[in-house]
Symmetry: C2
Subunit: 149 residues, 2 copies
DNA sequence: TCTGATTAGGATATTATCATCCGAATAACC
DNA sequence: GGTTATTCGGATGATAATATCCTAATCAGA
């Protein structure tokens, strides 16, 4: 569901978020701490900075810091720069399938994708850090008896 | 969520399932019908045959046929040979994280994965073909007011 | 102003996924 | 038995994701 790069991004952000008072942390330190290939993480952080999710300063005692509030930073926003979640429009049944009146398989597939994206858009960095109750994830548990088929 | 190869497999199986009375269909015909690269689909079908999902006969008038009942064939079983859905055990927070008492982020990530797998295991080929009500997918809709955070 | 630490960015290598090619093996039909 | 249609399996090629390398640009501090 999440690409390797997406996971790296999340890990790094969670690590930075745990550094209170917005202290700056060099990319190499984050990488060392998390056991992520340093040269690669550098690229990922660079990208997150371009996205405005991280702030950066170069030079001695420089590094990266969170630029947005963890409680308003969704997993979707973190991960989207690195992987595409748009539902593919090709129909599972092959034939040309009117998007306005899609076949069942098509509709189901879109529902899968929407559901996955929904999770990512409802979960924030703060959620991941705080031991908050599962919230939106609860709706993903096994369906209770009356709604199962 | 689904790899390209997984989608090919599903499309092909759906196509074969629509051929009543278990008639055999050559790989090339399936590929032509669905607009999938024929030489690649051949490999996919071969694999599905090894998995016991398809039956095959070589030679003239040969081809592939479904070897299991669509209503007992889950999407998970179709797709698993081509992509791994096992939840990675690496912790999102980096540090060594006791699997028996995982960190919040870890738990949430597992929940995502379990939820995704759950969808795939609850949906059958027959579901995709029949216009059956969404069933298990309904539990993935936006949470109703009282369960949202 | 020099030096060391650090991000920025381009170029390149490595690996996995997707796709193609080719030579068999097998089965139906004449 | 020969011919044609088809699956099977191995080898190879293309493309995208992942990872590394190198050279700047920038900043803090001595």
């Amino acid at each position: 569901m999440l690409s390797q790069t997406g996971v790296y991004a999340l890990q790094a952000l969670l690590h930075l978020a745990s550094h209170r008072n917005g202290a700056q942390v060099p990319a190499a330190a984050v990488a060392r701490e998390l056991g992520i290939p340093g040269t690669y993480l550098a690229k990922v952080l660079q990208r997150l900075a371009r996205e405005g999710i991280l702030g950066s300063t170069r030079g001695a005692r420089g590094g990266y810091r969170l630029a947005v509030d963890p409680s308003s930073l969704t997993v979707a926003r973190v991960v989207t720069p690195f992987q595409d979640f748009r539902a593919p429009d090709a129909c599972l049944l092959g034939g040309p399938c009117n998007p306005l009146e899609p076949c069942t398989a098509h509709a189901r597939r879109s529902a899968w994708n929407a559901a996955a994206l929904d999770i990512l858009e409802k979960t924030t960095l703060a959620d991941l850090l705080s031991g908050a109750p599962l919230g939106s994830l609860r709706s993903l548990a096994y369906p209770t008896s009356e709604e199962s088929r």
